[in-house]
Symmetry: C2
Subunit: 368 residues, 2 copies
């Protein structure tokens, strides 16, 4: 089964494109230096000494001189092929990574991702759910495209679980940004919404509030569930009832959280409202404008808090009490975890703490 037939056929492409080669290869450096290609590789990669394979100073110098005089630059394709590693780290988001409309993109995560990836020696490949690029087709196997990278980060609230599971099951290194437990074996880094939510509620009860309402959207993403969980924990911890009527869940906050309803809640004794942060910020927007429209002053009559950060277009308003999600840190942590997985590390998931933000929308409740 060995190459006894060698020398018979000579396929492949033309050996040399007529004129002088554009780029020198290690083989040419080797010829000029009077050594073998392997030696050139050893010298240039610096691996020689590292692996206990000594190279004489004289040879090293000859090789370096030759390489320099020929202007040798390594071909990254060949390096990566030989090393069986592309040093490519995928980032998959289910919407365009750079959206035109919603400024609320994944940008803050990417700040951390880019930085940490660079630090770890990876370049980033951007995959978006919308794009049909690459060799893979769209639709069913859309996620498969990411396999060209050494590993991949996933961003987004709504993920095709089956496909993701398939990747994980195949042993492809994957890390999800955001908690996600329903996919078995999936590593993730998430923000600790439970603790952060609890802290916000505790701050409000500390101010004296006894009736607090959470306005959330009708979405079962873990991020929403955790926030509610933290909210309820906070109530319980403060000795308040954490019943279902402490939470308003609405499909369309704009329509369901009206000035009238806010007025009614206020009349009923509610002195503080808490909204969850989502992609669109719908809950917070609705709450904010309903309170204003109802003619209630904040924080004079009612206190408001936001479980997250306000959407950028509302940045000029008063800073809401709430917490900040350390998105760049999350992104960086995700990269670290992914790099570890690529290197064969275990599947540890991580929770990152959020930082409490006192803000200017909460005060002691009015005492009529």
């Amino acid at each position: 089964m060995t190459k006894e037939a060698a020398g018979r056929a000579r396929p492949g492409r033309t050996p040399v494109p007529a004129g002088r080669r554009a780029r020198p290869r290690q083989a040419e450096v080797a010829r000029l230096a009077g050594v073998s290609q392997a030696t050139v590789s050893l010298v240039l990669s610096g691996r020689a000494t590292a692996t206990g394979r000594p190279i004489s100073e004289e040879t090293r110098k000859k090789v370096l001189d030759a390489a320099h005089s020929l202007g040798y630059v390594p071909d990254p394709a060949a390096s990566r092929l030989a090393a069986a590693r592309n040093n490519l780290l995928g980032v998959y988001s289910f919407t365009a990574t750079f959206p035109t409309d919603v400024r609320h993109s994944y940008y803050p995560f990417l700040v951390g991702v880019e930085q940490e990836a660079a630090a770890q020696g990876y370049d980033i490949v951007l995959f978006t759910g919308s794009s049909s690029g690459g060799a893979g087709a769209a639709g069913a196997g859309a996620l498969n495209r990411v396999r060209l990278a050494d590993g991949c980060l996933f961003l987004g609230r709504h993920v095709p679980v089956d496909e993701l599971h398939r990747l994980v099951a195949d042993g492809f290194p994957v890390v999800h940004v955001g908690r996600r437990d329903e996919v078995e074996g999936l590593a993730w880094v998430g923000a600790d919404y439970v603790s952060a939510g609890r802290e916000v509620v505790t701050a409000l009860t500390g101010l004296g509030h006894r009736r607090i309402l959470l306005v959330r959207e009708d979405d079962d993403a873990p991020a929403s569930t955790d926030r509610e969980r933290g909210f309820l924990d906070g109530l319980t911890a403060s000795g308040l009832p954490a019943g279902p009527n402490a939470v308003v869940r609405c499909g369309d906050p704009r329509r369901e959280v009206t000035a009238d309803r806010v007025r009614a809640w206020f009349a009923d004794g509610v002195t503080a409202f808490v909204a969850e942060e989502t992609d669109t910020g719908a809950a917070w927007r609705a709450l904010r404008s309903a309170v204003a429209e109802a003619g209630l002053s904040c924080p004079g009559q009612v206190s408001l808090a936001l479980l997250g950060s306000p959407p950028p277009d509302l940045a000029d308003g008063p800073v809401p009490m709430g917490f900040d999600i350390p998105r760049p840190a999350l992104g960086a942590e995700a990269v670290r975890l992914l790099a570890s997985r690529i290197g064969g590390g275990a599947v540890g998931s991580t929770l990152v703490a959020c930082t409490f933000r006192p803000g200017a929308t909460a005060g002691a409740p009015a005492t009529p």
Copy 2:
């Protein structure tokens, strides 16, 4: 000299890393489909029919099914090494692509780049200039990593000209976003500041202004030079003198454009001021506050215009007359040009038109 020694030594790395491979190869697809690796390549690359080497419909289907069920994706490094495309499009920026300081971000360009790249079937690889990792080390060979992709876009004011030139000279497809003439053979896409500047001036003279002053910074970037050129063209086209005293060039606008000077210019008959846009927006800031401080109303007494877009932190002020740089369009155009170069197209550079913005800072001059 043939391989008669084969079978003796068996170096290379371990054939299979214990468990099942994460990434399927063509060979595995072939095994599953019951054909040879070559057939898989022929089918998947679509080159079969093109090269007059027909594949039966049955075989094609078997192969596609197998590839799909394995989640096969071609290895970009291997494709590239084998002198083929990998549908990766590099984006290299000389600073972080996602800076914490949003002001200098390339975000608006990337919106267009991402969209057009997706439309053309490319995935995007982000090569971060600051990265010291990857195959290439920092400094000398930093740009070399981009050779893994089919072509690369470059963004940034400060470019290592030598390295870039090397890429261009080697025939690697490169497009620079922003005009850049000092690198020979480099293709670029830029904004047409000359026409846009002329249009702004024409709008002002159309309103009746006869004495217009350009405030620019002391910087010889093409973007600045072109704006001045357009400004002067506009004056000439309106039959006004385009002498050097129509332009104020200052190293530190904050200090050189004062309320006193503005008052003096106004007394001298200047009814309209034009500032250039730069990274910092220094000229515009200085002009804006000097006019306000001088107690001159705008657009009542003096008209203002900005050759570009206002810095984000001034976004809430009145919209200045001027023009908008179509950054997403520029990004998209750059991708189109790059795709064409990858396909063997010529090195055409392109100017993209800016859109005039009437704004609210310009009106007819007062007639005392």
